[in-house]
């Protein structure tokens, strides 16, 4: 048996805990039966789903995230990292092991739902949907904790919990509208699917990607290196999945190539931008990469390069092609200013790195976000209200209607921050070499 899973089995399944869960749920459902005379069956079925959500999704996600935070805080993470346990064993051992007790309660709830539901025909679908939702929520929790470990931020579990809770709150509204989806249709690549089935399959795919993400991050923590094929595969999958919703729309039928490049640009730049704030951005990584490049260790270079760099590098040709298409075919309404957006992303990335490369880079992410709020919102609003339109356009080139001048201003801003970053980097490296 997987040692990590077995460890959790020993921890989670004491006789007392085994008894407490069914007793507690039994009391709750008995109470509903006593209080709600006539329609008790439906009420119990719905309550079972609510409790499933609370136990498996909310509590389960917290438990999954905690499984890593506890290892770090109890100084046992090194034991696992220096063991011979494989990344895959650790992935499923942690994911399923830490949430075993939640699944125990969750399956009791699903069993009660199946027994009490007035619509037993949909029960198998409900099981698939809710189980995949549970796995998705828990794997997201573990993924978040691994990302916070990777970015070398202080392990602030409460922040992660807050993030998980907010996401799950939004997610559960989708979850409880599931039965309404059974009667509607989803269109993807020109085919019609039952929306509930489509959501279930999409959820299963999302679970798969989450688990692959956890595996990759755990492998990285165990110092197992690999080329970034998984990230590229994820980008290709996300783009293909997204295009499926639009490709047969009349508007896009005219220019499928344009749609593919546009979707790729959006996916690449968005994923790159999000990952930028979640990834490891310390100057030592840049220094290592620099040394690998000098020593021409290109494989190691690509293995260690952050995924956001790969995304943003691939987004550049997309931005150029979109700009070319825009000018030739006059369809700015779809791709108005891709180059401007790209340069602004590069500026923001450089700004984040600039703060990270400070001698004491305390809360570099927070500082960057503050600057971005000023650059994207506060300064333009103030300048616009003071009727300094030109200045506002200079601060936020997206406001400029002329694509060429907007691109030039955005590029200037990007190059200015890159120059600052390079100067700081050079200074820091000189200090290190002394």
């Amino acid at each position: 048996m997987n040692p990590e899973f077995q460890r959790y089995l020993q921890l989670e399944f004491s006789l007392a805990r085994m008894v407490v869960m069914p007793t507690f749920l039994g009391i709750i459902f008995s109470l509903i039966y006593v209080l709600d005379g006539n329609g008790y069956q439906k009420t119990i079925a719905n309550t079972a789903l609510i409790f499933y959500t609370l136990i498996v999704l909310f509590w389960g996600a917290k438990q999954a995230a905690n499984s890593l935070f506890e290892e770090i805080n109890n100084h046992t993470w090194d034991i696992q990292k220096t063991s011979a346990i494989s990344a895959w064993s650790l992935t499923w051992g942690k994911l399923l092991g830490s949430t075993l007790y939640n699944w125990y309660g969750g399956f009791i709830c699903l069993a009660i739902y199946s027994y009490m539901t007035p619509e037993p025909f949909f029960t198998p679908l409900i099981w698939v949907y809710f189980i995949s939702a549970g796995i998705f929520a828990q794997s997201s929790g573990l993924l978040m904790s691994l990302l916070s470990l990777r970015s070398e931020r202080n392990l602030n579990s409460s922040f992660s919990y807050l993030f998980i809770l907010l996401s799950l709150f939004l997610f559960s509204t989708l979850l409880f509208n599931y039965l309404s989806f059974l009667r509607s249709t989803a269109h993807w690549y020109g085919h019609s699917y039952n929306e509930a089935n489509f959501i279930s399959i999409s959820l299963c795919l999302a679970c798969g990607w989450c688990i692959i993400g956890i595996y990759r991050l755990i492998a990285e923590a165990l110092r197992i290196r690999s080329l970034p094929w998984v990230w590229i595969a994820f980008i290709v999958f996300s783009t293909t999945y997204t295009i499926g919703f639009f490709i047969f729309e009349e508007f896009f039928k005219k220019d499928i190539t344009h749609l593919i490049i546009g979707a790729s640009f959006i996916i690449l730049s968005t994923s790159g931008y999000i990952l930028l704030f979640l990834d490891e951005n310390n100057p030592m990584l840049a220094r290592r990469l620099w040394i690998y490049a000098q020593q021409q260790k290109w494989q190691r270079f690509i293995q260690e390069i952050p995924c956001w760099v790969i995304s943003l590098s691939l987004a550049l040709p997309c931005a150029f092609l979109l700009t070319l298409f825009s000018s030739f075919e006059n369809i700015e309404e779809i791709t108005p200013i891709p180059l401007v957006i790209y340069f602004l992303i590069i500026r923001d990335a450089s700004l984040l790195l600039y703060f990270n490369y400070a001698l004491n880079p305390k809360n570099a992410t927070g500082l960057t976000l503050l600057y971005l709020v000023c650059l994207y919102f506060l300064f333009p609003v103030i300048l616009f209200n003071l009727e300094f339109k030109l200045l506002a356009e200079f601060v936020l080139p997206l406001l400029d209607e002329n694509i060429i001048s907007a691109s030039i201003i955005a590029a200037l801003q990007a190059f200015f921050v890159i120059f600052l970053l390079f100067s700081r980097w050079k200074k820091r490296m000189n200090q290190m070499d002394c």
Binding site: R7, Q10, N74, H75, D78, I79, T82, S83, L222, R428
Partner: protein, 303 residues
């Protein structure tokens, strides 16, 4: 050589923790890793156990490139961190079982491995306790048991004796010698030099991220074997005898007292003593000045 480190450099943001260091450790030795706080001892041990990624350099342990194949190296290395942790909700037996399984020991062989290691560490009677019920010394033993349960070739121990009472330290020293006899190579970092002297065969002195000296402790002691001669009253003959004896060096004479280094073994001591007595030098004390590891360390660091 079991461990070969060459040109290892490790940097944290703002400072270089290890500065282009190279050294080798022979198989079956116990190497004391000493140095002041912030010298880079913990960083070096973490690099050797593939927990940290250095900026540059290579580490070979039993022929395995640690930086290229960290997982393969973990099968050969046992590591005890200075801030080790234990699974406090499991019993000691369950902790050891988990680590044994995680280190790839088959389920059917785990009981045997647990019994062996718990006997070695003298914790067989604590297997059903949880770590929270144990004293600091016993927790340390459990952590060491976890580090060596898979019988690694190399054991890396970061401040293993910190917080232990003298009795526990003594039994730890005995344990290390026992592990050495079993063929393990130990690299032990510690501030308590007197304790390292009891079991270390070599000393690696690290300062400001550089190797200041790597030396065999017995060689070091031999090199520094100095004798002291105390007279009951001053003697004019003493100077002539000492300076005309070829096996002596570093001679210092101060009225009724003299110190010198004497090459060779007991026969030379006997000859010198005989000569002094024949010349009627009024000797009241003739003894070696014992130097300990701390003196050796301080003399190296100060020089």
């Amino acid at each position: 050589m079991l461990i070969n480190v060459s040109n290892l450099t490790f940097e944290y943001t703002g400072f270089r923790a290890l500065n282009n260091i190279s050294f080798s450790i022979p198989s079956g030795s116990i190497v004391a890793l000493v140095g002041p706080n912030g010298a880079g001892k913990t960083t070096l041990l973490r690099c050797l156990s593939a927990l940290e990624q250095p900026l540059n350099g290579t580490i070979l342990i039993d022929g395995i490139d640690v930086l290229e194949h960290p997982r393969a190296c973990h099968r050969k290395v046992g590591y005890l961190s200075d801030f080790f942790g234990l699974y406090d909700r499991l019993t000691v037996k369950q902790c050891l079982f988990f680590v044994a399984r995680a280190q790839g020991i088959k389920t059917q062989d785990c009981a045997k491995a647990i019994l062996k290691v718990s006997r070695q560490l003298n914790i067989e009677d604590r297997l059903e306790n949880t770590p929270v019920e144990l004293s600091r010394g016993l927790r340390q033993r459990v952590a060491i048991a976890q580090a060596i349960i898979h019988q690694p070739k190399v054991v890396l121990l970061d401040e293993p004796a910190s917080g232990l009472d003298p009795e526990a330290r003594h039994s730890l020293a005995e344990l290390f010698l026992e592990l050495q006899q079993q063929g393990m190579t130990l690299l032990v970092s510690s501030h308590i030099l007197s304790e390292l002297e009891a079991y270390s065969s070599d000393m690696l002195i690290l300062r400001q991220g550089r190797i200041v000296e790597q030396v065999s402790i017995h060689e070091k002691s031999k090199q520094l074997k100095t004798f002291k001669l105390v007279l009951s009253h001053s003697s004019t003959a003493l100077r002539g005898i000492l300076f005309n004896t070829p096996m002596l060096s570093h001679i210092t004479i101060n009225d009724k007292q003299a110190t010198f280094k004497l090459d060779g073994g007991v026969n030379n001591q006997q000859q010198l003593l005989k000569k002094l007595v024949e010349q009627q030098v009024p000797i009241c004390e003739f003894s070696p000045i014992t130097t300990n590891l701390q003196d050796a360390y301080l003399s190296t660091v100060q020089s």
